[in-house]
């Protein structure tokens, strides 16, 4: 069941404070968090979070199209390794 709109998005409060502090400092910093349940808010865009997957903190560079999703969606707890073959990666 979807979350009621009147409640607003859920986010752990400490994460907001840390993101504000990081943005104010202007440093290239990874905010490590266990809070996979927090919703990605517009004020997180451009920041890098290290989201715990039970094993390590996977870096998640937040972009606009990730708003509204949860942090945990970008840090899978299981890994399905594939083959490189002709696949490409683009440096962002």
């Amino acid at each position: 069941m979807a979350r009621s709109v009147w409640k607003g998005p859920f986010v752990d409060g400490y994460l907001l404070k840390k993101s504000e502090a990081t943005r104010a400092s202007g440093r290239n910093e990874v905010i490590k968090t266990w809070s996979r349940r927090s919703t990605i808010l517009p004020q997180f865009v451009g920041l890098t979070f290290g989201v715990y997957n039970g094993q390590k903190f996977l870096p998640v560079l937040v972009t606009e199209n990730m708003i509204g999703h949860k942090f945990g969606e970008f840090s899978p707890t299981r890994n399905f390794p594939g083959h490189a073959a002709d696949k490409k990666a683009k440096r962002g």
Binding site: Y14, L58, A84, A85, D86, K90
Partner: protein, 203 residues
């Protein structure tokens, strides 16, 4: 040599084979010319005849599964003998990248990782993408295995010819996060609800 697929078995009685493709677009396995074995001595001229998704059986419905015919393989016995054969193309057969910021994963994997002062951080063992951009997975560092976002801010220099890339990591990148940052451990807000701009709260 770049691994692009593998023969998973025989299909039918006329020498057709089932091929599992590892390429981004499964049917592109034949786009880079003839296929070879790992040593490059045995050549396989593969012609695709059907895609797995087109077949009626549930077991063959995978999009990465292809059906093809290899020159010289005319009966099922010969096709079955190829089961497990891995298929490679020479790296030179892959087309050059038009975008200077785009790299083949096969080129990135194996690169040595250094910091801006030249200190060794191990090697890239894989490139993953979980929906938040590409991540370089690095192994062999004294700090332990770690992942780096494949972004200019973190990877300012890539020297494919030199066989290394340079990473620019924040000072506290390897620092363990403080428990004070965890919800419920220091009396911080837990389950806090935040109102965002433009949000309507009709009760």
């Amino acid at each position: 040599m770049v691994l692009v697929g593998a023969i998973t078995g025989a299909h039918g009685v006329r020498g057709e084979v089932k091929v599992k493709s590892f390429t981004a677009e499964p049917a592109a396995i034949t786009a880079y010319g003839p296929l070879f074995d790992e040593s490059g001595t045995r050549r396989f001229d593969l012609t695709l005849t059907a895609k797995g998704g087109d077949l009626p059986t549930k077991a063959a419905s995978s999009k990465a599964l292809l059906i093809g015919r290899i020159d010289g393989i005319v009966d099922r016995t010969k096709a079955e003998a190829l089961k497990g054969q891995r298929l490679f193309v020479p790296r030179a057969q892959l087309p050059a990248n038009e975008d200077p910021e785009e790299f083949y994963l096969t080129d990135l994997i194996g690169l040595a990782v250094r910091d801006k002062h030249g200190a060794d951080f191990g090697r890239v063992i894989d490139v993953a993408n979980y929906g938040a951009g590409d991540l370089l997975m690095v192994e062999g560092s004294a700090e332990g295995d770690f992942d780096v976002p494949f972004a200019k801010a973190f990877v300012p220099e890539i020297d494919l010819a030199g066989g290394f890339l340079t990473v620019d990591l924040p000072d506290d990148f390897f620092a363990a996060p403080s428990f004070a940052a965890a919800p419920g451990r220091d009396g911080e807000d837990v389950g806090d609800e935040v109102e965002t701009e433009g949000e309507v709260h009709d009760r």
